[in-house]
Amino acid sequence: MALKRKLPLLLLYIVPAIATCVVSFLVYLKFAAEEAVIPEAFGGQMGFAAQMIARQATTHLEARMQIITFHANMNMFSLLCVAWYGSGLFCDDRRSGAFQLYFSRPLSRMNYFLGKALCVGFFGMLVSFGPAVVIFIVASLASPEWAFFKQEWDILLRALAFSVTWLALVCGLTLFASSMASRKSFALLGVFCFMGFSVAVAQVLGPFVDSRLYATSILFDMQAIAHQIFEREGSWRMVQEPWLAWTVIWSFTGLFFSGAALRLARLRIVE
């Protein structure tokens, strides 16, 4: 029935889903390979223990890297999923007259807005944060006595922080575009135009005016934030000061959400 319409969304999810499975499997293999190592080959218990610890640390680090890299690459996918799913949320309801049906009932506009935002946020989290959780669980189960879980639990929180930041922006942008556009395709266009525009502006202003203006690009900002959250020393980034990145991201997020909320508040029923 409505499956035909949901098909593109499902297809979009397949890529991250497959990727998650593959990566999880690789991580699992790594841990399994470790367990197969026999102590005798390493000359004595003491030496062995030290070596084991070292090897474990490497494995853990590799697993962490998997999660982080995965995160970095899933940015675009979560944007795509959220934009595809969410761009129709407000404008489709307006075009179909659903607003009249909703708001002639005891439903406050705030509840409606939150409901839509959470829906969109949930889907976004599935794509953005979900893989991290899956890989983390696989790694925890595969590592001996939950070592991964006990030692590297912080990676999950960092991934969460990153996801929330990115998703807040993307959801806000999508909802704002949806509240401004008259149809879904325009809203979708709006979302990608904004992203493209922000990168383009940064590429123009950055090299010629001030290197800090690279912060105009959302993607560069997220890069910087990733750098800080995941403590990726030495990784290349365009925006040097993390506080600049945070400010830009959260300002836009705030703007988008307020803009969307305002549009919704001023909506007229009956007329």
Partner: protein, 319 residues
């Protein structure tokens, strides 16, 4: 239960400099009521108020027992009111059952209740297997019926129907009017029907409220507004109306030749309502008498009178 469903006392509402409603006093009794008024009379503002969407700026109001001046009041009103909007209204991506159910739940019904009621109201508006199909493919008639169904689902205290026959073909119009008539006259549901089509209102409502420039200019039973004047008859002949006119004159009857084949004839007092003399005149002038009935003004005439305007009937020329 004879409590008025809606009680407005010197209600005022203005938007900035525009006074939309002024000193509106109205008491809407239970049953089917028509709401008439020229464009710009304040109908949409009044509707918004009755829907619990806005608060008055002056006067008091009690709508289905709640006060729209407070936020809780307005929420409570929206729980108890059913609205059938004028324009197309559907929820994208759902079928009729899902939509009715979802809206029922938002109105406060529990999940099970909402499902049961959804099927009940869809039965009532005669949407059968179609209810499982995507709304996109519905005809105008089906969409209108669905709109009515969703307004009924939560068993509201009053139904607000805004131009319910919009865009319907003659069969669809009749079907919709029959449903509304049933709701109002048989089921005794309270309804407020907003329409520019006066015959629709005449068919389905018992009482009518006329709005003009933000106030109520008339609020009465349709029967009273379209009272018959037993003495005058509206007469139609098949042909040769001049001969008929001549005969009426010969009989000394007072009459007006209103249209080529129509007359208004005043019967002699002595005869009471007896139209037999018309037969005699018809026979004498060898004209076929097609019909005659006591003159009663239509709702349209009454409406224009309430607004101090001239109706659309051609000006009557006295003979």
């Amino acid at each position: 239960m004879n409590e008025p469903v809606i009680q407005l006392d010197r209600l005022e509402k203005h938007f900035g400099a525009v006074q939309a409603l002024r000193g509106l006093t109205l008491s809407v009794a239970p049953g089917p009521v028509g709401l008439l008024g020229p464009n710009g009379a304040g109908k949409s503002t009044l509707l918004k108020l009755l829907l619990g969407l806005i608060a008055p700026t002056g006067g008091c109001a009690s709508i289905v027992g709640f006060d729209p001046a407070t936020r809780q009041g307005r929420l409570a009103i929206r729980r108890r009111v059913g609205y059938m909007p004028e324009s197309d209204s559907t929820i994208p991506g759902m079928n009729a059952v899902e939509m009715t159910m979802t809206l029922g739940r938002i109105s406060g019904l529990g999940a099970e209740d909402a499902m049961t009621r959804a099927h009940e109201v869809l039965d009532y508006v005669e949407l059968h297997e179609e209810r499982y199909r995507d709304i996109e493919g519905y005809s105008t008639g089906m969409k209108q019926r669905l709109k009515l169904a969703q307004a009924l689902a939560h068993d509201p205290d009053i139904l607000l129907l805004d131009e319910p026959t919009n865009g319907l073909d003659p069969k669809g119009r009749r079907h919709m009017l029959e449903l509304i008539e049933d709701l109002g006259k048989n089921e005794r549901k309270n309804l407020l029907l907003c329409s520019h089509l006066l015959p629709d209102i005449e068919k389905t409502c018992e009482k009518v409220v006329v709005l003009h420039r933000g106030s109520v200019v008339a609020s009465e039973e349709i029967e009273n507004m379209t009272r018959r004047d037993e003495r005058w008859m509206r007469v139609e002949v098949r042909s040769d109306s001049e001969r008929f006119a001549g005969e009426l004159e010969r009989e000394g009857l007072l009459f007006e030749h209103t249209e080529p084949l129509r007359f208004r004839v005043r019967l002699p007092d002595a005869n009471g309502e007896d139209g037999d003399i018309l037969f005699a005149c018809a026979r004498a002038s060898q004209v076929t008498l097609v019909s005659f009935e006591p003159v009663h003004s239509t709702l349209e005439e009454a409406f224009f009178k309430a607004l101090d305007e001239t109706p659309s009937q051609p000006t009557e020329r006295a003979s």
